[in-house]
Assembly symmetry: C2
Homo-oligomer: 419 residues x 2
Amino acid sequence: MDTLKKMMLDMGKAAQVAARNLANATTEQKNKALIAAARILRDNKAQILSANAGDMRTARARGLTGAMLDRLVLDDQRVEDMAASLENIAALPDPIGDVMASWDRPNGLNISRVRVPLGVIGIIYESRPNVTADAGALCLKSGNAVILRGGSESTLSSRAIHKCLVQGLAEAGLCPDSIQLVPIQDREAVGELLRLVGYVDIIVPRGGRSLIERVQKDSKLPVMAHLDGICHIYIDREADLDKAVAITVNAKMRRTGICGALETLLIDRAVAQSHLPAIMSALEEAGCELRGDKEVRKLDSSVALAKAKDWDTEYLEAILSIKIVGGIDEAMDHIAAHGSHHTDCIITENSATAEKFLTLVDSAIVMHNSSTQFADGGEFGMGAEIGISTGKIQARGPVGVEQLTSYKYKVRSDGRTRP
Amino acid sequence: MDTLKKMMLDMGKAAQVAARNLANATTEQKNKALIAAARILRDNKAQILSANAGDMRTARARGLTGAMLDRLVLDDQRVEDMAASLENIAALPDPIGDVMASWDRPNGLNISRVRVPLGVIGIIYESRPNVTADAGALCLKSGNAVILRGGSESTLSSRAIHKCLVQGLAEAGLCPDSIQLVPIQDREAVGELLRLVGYVDIIVPRGGRSLIERVQKDSKLPVMAHLDGICHIYIDREADLDKAVAITVNAKMRRTGICGALETLLIDRAVAQSHLPAIMSALEEAGCELRGDKEVRKLDSSVALAKAKDWDTEYLEAILSIKIVGGIDEAMDHIAAHGSHHTDCIITENSATAEKFLTLVDSAIVMHNSSTQFADGGEFGMGAEIGISTGKIQARGPVGVEQLTSYKYKVRSDGRTRP
């Protein structure tokens, strides 16, 4: 067996031992490890920033662009945010051991369904070094061992952060292999991780489309997909103009780089003339570039013409595609054909129309008269999240500690046999 | 594209269209289809039995053994049982549309979590023709489109049963592609089914270990595994002898061919002399062959010596392996090393010992003083089941209609934007 394969297999085996211990760690132990790691992160801020400076030098030398550098860079505030996030995760309720349901059966059995960890989670992510802390902490809180595989750009930063997490585990008397970081950047390490059947229970990829698609293609393990957020707002013929303007501008421009940001606006032909000019000028005033279909350009010839691929693009920038449609059915067809099952919203004062949209649009989050920027575990009251699952298996929508769990059935009786 | 690949892709596309319609079918429509299919099955009993006779002739010519022939054969009663099962599934509550939770947030949002179907399910099964009806019906009830791929032995029987299901769909005005049966037996059809990424949401294999392992190895889609039931009973030093005898005999001998049947008995050395003779003679009286470790043979030299592979064998026959252990920890270590995470039981009068076992043994179903033969969706009050999931992703334990669902978040507000 080659060295890399053996290294990954050893990590898998170590994770499995750690998972068996962690499944029965107390809430106090897990929280102690998280709070200690937060303190250690703060204490090691200088080392972390110095490691990050090294990553930044390499990244600049490789010619990385502004947005990528911004995701990679750490400063005092970002280290403090990471530490605070660990403390917030410590403060969340522990899902493990929750009795989800309990019932008595006519056959004399008492059955209860109890929440347990999934086991071992593999997380593959790109440049943001804070994912090392966040993902490690969410897995720990939910009683799962984790194998983290960060992006090559953030190697040194991730190692420095990971070291703090492991020290936190040690202070709480937990197995250091509870949170492992793949120590080398060989691309084949990901391939081996994706083949650890029997050692890793689920893979969570976080990053751009090419990463996710590679993982989905190569994985022998279940994947909790976090695909694009190609989010839509449909402005119905019974939409309130003020709400339409405010929500559209907020959904697109509050933060353009998050997965819940609006990417395509659909509007009913019946209100295109009355509503669209005000919406478009508010967007332009906020600095948004508009790309419309032919009909939109008839209303405002200064708008660029959207190309076919615009309808399938997650811009993550101050760009919006706009299309005029014949009504809710055409809007829903467009979303079914071009959406990514993430977050889609209808703006209307007609509650029957809204219910139709909420029921028929097949997305993790469907909204009525609300900004798509609310698509976030924190806003939902679920605490920190690893991301928004756009698949339907295991978990859908924001993935917090509860979504990283499974359950078991405990069956008790006084000696019953089955007739 | 070759013909087979195109055929499977077309089935995937048709299933996806059917799934979109089915997700919004009413409970009445789905029940109407199930009840009609039950009637049509009864009306077509002669044709079904004649098709089955054809399958039986081929099977005998191929030299299939007694147990396999028994799984394949249909008679009046088995057709009636299939029809009754369809009616029972119609009588189950419809999980789709259930509001699982609903809450208001300080940000002004009302959020509700609503149950939706998974989408398209692929079910790959072996010889039992009744799976065609059961699996098709469970998927329909849970609003999922399904692609069924039955075993080659049951080709004619499955086709005849499938025809009745499709007629039931037609009577209820539902898309006939809601329940599709792969029409040919080419082994590569399974391979293509496992590669229908984007068309099929989850694969459920039902059958022997080699089928499941092939599916897990080749699938590009999430797999809900139904692996072996290597079920254990551990008889603790504080076990009540009467319960130990009654439960062990029932767990092993009530029906030896089901996945919840006992396969290995572990007993604490402290009570081996006092408890084991009575247990062994009751088992032998019931017709069970015993295979023990060396210590067991010291107690009773007429018992055969268990080989290493016995501890990893799901007999599904009247054979039991027996091992004497040093206590609960050694028992749990044995279960961790040799079990299949299906169903395991402790017999003890000490409730603290029982709780330790229930918490630490990592199986879908863990039991105290109860027969492992109760491992069944019906006994749990969940209605009909597709099987018992031994994995932790998506569903664990009995898989009924609720376990074949996902959810979406419906978010409503009066025009809220995110600060």
